[in-house]
Amino acid sequence: MLVVRLILVFFKVGFFAFGGGWATVRLLQEELVIRGGFLSQEEFADLISVSQITPGPVAVNMATYLGNKLGGFMAAILCTLALVAAPLIIFSLLKKFSGWFSSFISPGRLDRALNLGAVVLIAGAALSVIESIRPNLSAVLVGLSAFIVIRTTRVSPLFVLVGGGIVGILLFST
């Protein structure tokens, strides 16, 4: 039953992930950490970190990891498939009904509204991660310098992430 519930959570969340996988993170935190209690806030934050330095979108990585943790290999596969079902379904529906659909809402207007909704959910994802950071001077300085590097240089995000990790080893190892 646990696994079925997990699969349904990932299936549902997939449909609201406009603007990329990050929009799912807040919803997953609410469903899995706060309501479900499947994993702790700390483990959730570490899972996000690991997702960022391994290949694949964060939502896919989460589905695989949690499915495997709670129900083994098959559950991992099923959760991951449940997550990617949404774009497949919406795409095939859009192919058939896009003309009918755009007759009462213009796609441009809808895109604009969904973009704002996505910003809200991504801000939610950022808040979910911030919750698990101890607000002290060194954390703020690391965050700000990472932000400046991302905005002003062309360095791949991967290097910034690994750089942050190395600084983390020096500053935050317990």
């Binding site: 609201f16 896919v60 774009p87 704002l116 909704g117 809200v120 991504i122 905005r151």
Partner: protein
Amino acid sequence: MGVTYNAWYKRKGKAALCRLENPCVREGKPIKGARSLLRIFFTFSWVSIVALGGGYSMLPIYRRELTRLGVVNSEDVLTIITRAQSLPGPIAVNFAVVMGSKLGGIPGAFAAVSGVIFPPVVVILTLGKLLLEHRELSYLSGFLYGVRIVVVAMLGSLILDMLKRYKRSVWEYTMLGLAVVALFWKMPGLIIFIVVVLVDLFWRRLGV
């Protein structure tokens, strides 16, 4: 979403674009077996591995790898990216859906999506599991904590890029502010999302 990607390009400068133009592309002359399902699967698996780092930084890599097949040119890839961005779900998966169906219909879409999720599934079940099982080790916990902070910075940058896409009114920014406050108070994200989208869709009709 469409212009988020363009905003990314603008910020990174045109050099990023030029560097990735592939001189070897012979448009209209697909390489042998370009549309076979196995080929689609492995192309997207490969792309998924080399596009490490995620998000919008991987789209130039997609461009390079897919024009290599000779079925689409780089303009097509841009159009497909724009279409992919209006679907829900991780951008890499959406892109695989749209591109896969262009290459091989619905079976092609399935092959492409399986290709994209294959490497992450394998890595998470092995390396990811190992890292998370030992996440309390001193150095590892420091490393993951450092990455956590950079993730917040990255999301901040992503939000700025997404907001650049449309010129928004003061009312919309007010609503955004209220939504963030509501998230801070732990109100359910799904409800906030739906309210924000509906209000933004219909607010002119409401006469605000």
